[in-house]
């Protein structure tokens, strides 16, 4: 599948934003969110989510009609994603106001509602891909836990970075130290699953013809939308190298830097900020691979023997 920059930026930014929003909500519910950190975290989270959705409209042929996407929540995960995203703004905005006014009374329910709706939005994003049967790498039970774990991890890294600037942040860093191995495990399990699974469908099944089926002649001599959108291929050696880069930037470095920030107050802030930047960069590479390594059944009509 074509790794479109708009969708990669959208899923990474909104994932990090909702992860940060959910953690801020949970910390607030537990009474552990200082006013300054809470305002900064929720502002950054809302900014990341807003930037992500703005990027996603670049993927649309008719961005001015984007509001129509809220109407089909009964059947469409993309529509549910939009509804959940808007709904999450209500408790998140109220929590932000509560923090601004220095009130504590409603922080627990607002924090829990914010966390729940943030998790719901990320789940809807994941289910858009999870529910597409023509792409076997996405029609996989590990897609949903991957999106959730990566959102939690990037959110935790950003919360730890913000907290370290405020001179605290041991709790947030501890959450990040748990979230990074969790996300790394989810990603490794996903990659292992899609590598081990044999291709499901063949050109013979796609055409209903008996015996081995080879493409003799394509319907057209040049590219078309189907090949540009669904026919993207990434060389295996590049995929292997990019996976190593994603592991290093996304998980190994953030873990070591977060541990360093906990151990030494001298380097705490720079290490935590570097951890967040590195983790986000690693997840950008991971998300590029999520698309680039996915194969679509339409390629069976264009010369793929099996997908």
């Amino acid at each position: 599948m074509q790794p479109a920059l708009s969708i990669i930026l959208f899923t990474v930014a909104s994932g990090a934003g909702y992860g940060l929003m959910a953690l801020a909500g949970l910390f607030a519910a537990a009474g552990l969110l200082p006013q300054g950190l809470g305002l900064a975290a929720l502002s950054l989270a809302l900014g990341a989510v807003g930037a992500g959705f703005a990027a996603s409209t670049r993927h649309l042929g008719r961005p001015e009609r984007a509001w129509r996407a809220l109407s089909q929540w009964r059947s469409s995960w993309m529509s549910r994603e939009g509804v959940a995203a808007l709904a999450s703004l209500v408790p998140a905005g109220l929590l932000w106001l509560e923090l601004l006014l220095g009130r504590r009374a409603a922080q627990a329910p607002l924090g829990l509602a914010t966390a729940a709706l943030a998790a719901a939005t990320v789940s809807c994003t994941a289910m858009i891909y999870r529910s597409l049967k023509p792409v076997r790498q996405w029609d996989n039970a590990l897609v949903l836990p991957n999106y959730l774990a990566l959102a939690l991890m990037t959110g935790a890294l950003w919360l730890a970075a913000l907290a370290s600037l405020a001179g605290g942040g041991a709790r947030a860093a501890a959450v990040a130290l748990l979230a990074v191995p969790l996300a790394a495990g989810a990603k490794l399990a996903y990659w292992s699953a899609i590598d081990r699974a044999a291709p499901l469908l063949t050109a013979a099944q796609a055409t209903g013809l008996a015996g081995p089926v080879r493409l003799f002649e394509a319907p057209h001599s040049e590219e078309n939308f189907l090949l540009k959108e669904m026919g993207f291929r990434v060389a295996r050696k590049h995929a292997a190298r990019l996976r190593r880069i994603a592991l290093l930037l996304g998980f190994a470095l953030p873990f070591l830097l977060t541990a360093a920030s906990l151990l030494s107050s001298l380097v705490a802030a720079p290490a935590a900020i570097l951890a967040a930047l590195s983790g986000t960069a690693g997840v950008l590479v991971e998300r590029w691979l999520f698309f680039a390594e996915a194969t679509h059944t339409v390629t069976l009509y264009y010369g793929s023997a099996a997908v």
Binding site: G61, R74, S76, L209, G211, A218, P219, E229, M230
Partner: protein, 246 residues
């Protein structure tokens, strides 16, 4: 509304039956499809760089060519592919705007281009590649089963079939109600063992493909033996004989 219409027994399901045994791969159906729909209700079907080095554009119908079998069983199969108007059309249910819908009255899957935001998710959800983005208009396009022909009372009744069906020079394309087991197309599918594409995925496509007939091996061998003794003139008669004895 992108929920699928409720299923009723005997539901009308208009669709195509494509005979892979006799399709000659002339692309006339694809050309007439583009011609009709470019100017019809579903048009225009935009082209990018149509006279340049890398022409690209929207087509509802595309003709692939495959080789199957080995040795003497090897053959070339021309394979026209357009929307299969699935009963459980995921392209409809994934649509976030309600632009994509399946008609309750005849099962045709359509896009309301005034609602479409061009998110392309329907093209990802379709395993067959039936939907294409019109990059100039920013909306998704797909086969309408020539909904603006088949009910068009200004046309001669004989012409009230999809453009691809009307133009096929070898009658390899058939149009009708596949939801009715007594229809001509349903009987043809039953008689010839027509197949659905990728039934494993569960979209329940309506269109059917009639597989190429098996070559009569014994007859071909004995015919070849006769050929040696026959003059060139009788080859024509033998071909007529083969054609008539199908």
């Amino acid at each position: 509304m992108t929920s699928l219409p409720p299923k009723r027994p005997g539901q009308k399901q208009l669709g195509l039956v494509i005979d892979l045994d006799i399709c000659v791969g002339c692309h006339a159906c694809a050309v007439n499809c583009k011609e009709w729909n470019n100017g019809g209700g579903a048009g225009p079907l935009s082209d990018l760089d149509p006279y340049g080095a890398r022409p690209d554009g929207v087509w509802f119908n595309r003709i692939h060519a495959f080789e199957t079998g080995e040795g003497e069983d090897g053959r070339t199969v021309y394979f026209p592919k357009s929307c299969l108007h699935c009963e459980d059309a995921a392209c409809v249910t994934v649509c976030p705007t309600g632009a994509s819908f399946k008609r309750a009255e005849d099962g045709i899957v359509l896009v309301d281009e005034a609602l479409c935001i061009g998110c392309k998710l329907c093209s990802w959800a379709c395993p067959y590649g039936a939907r294409e983005l019109d990059e100039k208009e920013g909306v998704m396009r797909k086969c309408t089963l020539c909904v603006d022909r088949i009910y068009n009372e200004t046309l001669d009744p004989a012409d009230r079939v999809p453009a691809c069906v009307s133009t096929c020079p070898v009658s390899a394309r058939h149009f009708g109600d596949l939801g009715d087991p007594q229809s001509d197309v349903a009987k043809l599918v039953a008689e010839r063992g027509g197949v659905a594409l990728l039934p494993e995925l569960g979209y329940r496509p309506v269109n059917r493909y009639l597989p190429p007939r098996r070559r009569p091996v014994a007859a071909a061998a004995s015919a070849a033996a006769e050929t040696a003794a026959e003059s060139a003139g009788s080859k024509l008669l033998r071909w007529v004989d083969q054609l008539l004895s199908r």
